[in-house]
């Protein structure tokens, strides 16, 4: 059962009056091929230390918590502190090599996807967009999407060198990294801007609707060059 022929023929009948089909096809094809940003606002063109400052400001404005750490090695201690403060004794970590090689001894951790009873989760961000303090998460075996949504406390490691000024730079990065004959995008790309929220009850802003109630970003300073 499909109505594709009927729908397409109705579209064609209308659109052929505007452009002939060959022109229409080649223009659309060209436009996809030429993919480029329409207009990058000023705020989407930050650079250097200003970019980091902008990211932190915007992320906090969206109710994310941001901790700036000097190095990856400081993550474990930061995480331990957050878990203790929140009274949570177990942690699920995305099975990313960068996170797996840290020394988790002393903490009750497991690596894998998110489960319904996970109260805390730790992931590694693919990128961070300074324009709006947005994390970009890319699904893959090392970064399961469910870990971004099921835990109550979601902690995300983000490296300063993975900050981009705008979203378009992230798309460019993904396109450049794509394998030939493979989809450019993974199963899921998440843009995450702050913790889960709703205002559905009398317009009162409440955090933790279904996703995490707290989003903590652990921003790792870029290595000194």
């Amino acid at each position: 059962m499909t109505d594709r022929p009927e729908i397409m023929s109705r579209l064609k009948a209308t659109l052929d009056k505007i452009h002939n089909p060959t022109v229409r096809f080649s223009r659309a094809d060209q436009r996809i091929h030429d993919a480029r940003p329409a207009l990058l606002p000023e705020r989407g063109r930050s650079e250097g230390p200003g970019r980091t400052v902008l990211f932190v400001t915007e992320a906090k404005a969206a109710q994310a918590e941001v901790h700036q750490l000097a190095a990856l090695d400081d993550v474990v201690q930061a995480v331990a502190g957050l878990l203790q403060e929140a009274g949570i004794d177990r942690l699920k970590i995305a099975p990313d090599e960068t996170l797996q090689t840290l020394d988790w001894s002393g903490l009750d951790v497991a690596f894998g996807r998110g489960e319904g009873d996970d109260r805390a989760g730790l992931s590694l961000a693919y990128a961070g967009v300074a324009e709006t303090g947005t994390l970009v998460m890319r699904s893959c075996p090392a970064s399961p999407t469910t870990l971004n949504f099921l835990p109550d406390l979601h902690m995300v490691v983000l490296r300063e060198e993975d900050l981009t000024a705008n979203y378009e730079d992230v798309w460019a990065k993904l396109r450049a990294a794509a394998e030939p004959d493979q989809p450019v995008l993974p199963r899921t790309i998440n843009w995450i801007t702050g913790p889960s929220r709703t205002a559905d009850i009398e317009q009162t802003l409440l955090l933790g609707a279904h996703g995490p109630r707290r989003l903590v970003i652990l921003l790792i300073d870029a290595p000194e060059t």
């Binding site: 109505d3 480029r36 705020r43 469910t146 949504f149 843009w191 279904h210």
Partner: protein, 479 residues
Amino acid sequence: MTLPSQGHAPQCHDFQKGAKKALDDAQLQGLLNRTLKDGFQQKRLASMARLPEYDDLRDRARDLKNHVLDHLDVYLERFEAEVKKAGGHVHWAKDAETARAMILDICLAADAKIVSKGKSMIAEEIALNDHLEANGLTPVETDLGEYIIQLRHELPSHIIAPAFHLSKNQVAETFKDHHTHLDKDRDLSEATVLLSEARSELREKFLTADVGITGANFLIAETGTAMIVTNEGNGDLTQSLPRVHIALTSIEKVVPTLDDATLLLRLLARTATGQEQSVYNTFFTGPKRDGDLDGPEEFHVVLLDNGRTDLLASEFRDILRCIRCGACINHCPVYGVTSGHAYGWVYPGPMGSVLTPHFVGIEEAHLLPSASTFCGRCEEVCPVRIPLPDLLRRWRMRGFQRGHPGGLQRFGLKAWALLAKHPALYAPIMRLAVGGLKGLAGKRGAFKRLIGAGGWTKARDLPAPQGGTFQARYRKGER
């Protein structure tokens, strides 16, 4: 042209009754003020101020959408090809009935019992839940607002904030009525407690759902990607936990590239709720990949026409640019006092008044395009610059040709028209009429009641004429 299949039975013909009910509801009026004026309107202004390029982006968004409409078949074909490359399926449904049947088939083939649902206006348009329930499935709305109105068997009153018309107490009552396995004496007076309860009730449904159905805010031809925009994260749990994910969407949602979607995303949350971005913007492409620890095994897109190909060929084409932000609804002075249910179907406010007559017929819905002062605020705030008052007026033209308004109003219009076309008749007759009214008023400046003044004098006085017409007095030499 046959009507698209309607789904929910429309009550648009009862607009006046529905409006009156809303006007008399003091609690609703308070919620309207709070949600719209103090809420969405102020937040949008503040958020626009943070993006100086806003108006420029609106122009580009309008141009992008127009371009897409001119090339719609090509972009849809490309989208479909890319979805397939990524291992997904695309189903083309010409109307609501077909879409319902297709979705049911997918669910039955997956041996589904529980179906979790992210927020989808298309699902409301085709009345999907009723159909699934009638066929033995249990659809569960996961967006908090949609969940609440699902429990209450109501239609959404707003396309972004479907349950804003309810007070906290009404929500608490609803939960007490439906979450009967919980202690009936529990204290539900705090919003945080209500939210916790909803979260735990729904978490169980998320985790046990066999099929997850979401909408799609945009479809991206370049990569075969569908994307959703939520604040709660419910859409994400709906699409990542079950074995099967269905994205139910409509044909005009496609955009050429990821960058094009990004342009629209810079406008959407900003214009709708005043946020920089909604918390979760999620782009999904096909089913889970090799090695993924989670994600659906099957991914389906159901592309719905339901009369949109007709709209594309019609004088109402511009409405297909709509990105469902709700700004027109938030700023409409009429919606601001009647709320959404008075509009009698799925889509309220200005955009609803342009769409609804197309879906349910102008006979049923002619009051909707009439219920506007043409103040133009909707067009002013629309991020894709849809000329809403013009489109509403075109519906009025169609309505007029079919006899709406009828009765006394039409007679009055015809009488006025006759006189207005003939100044030589108009002048003396109007002089008499004005003189008569003035005589009736005497020294009074206004009438508290006047036969034939319709409902005007119910709510306000009617100023009396000054006396003599300007033309008559001018001809006599007054200056």
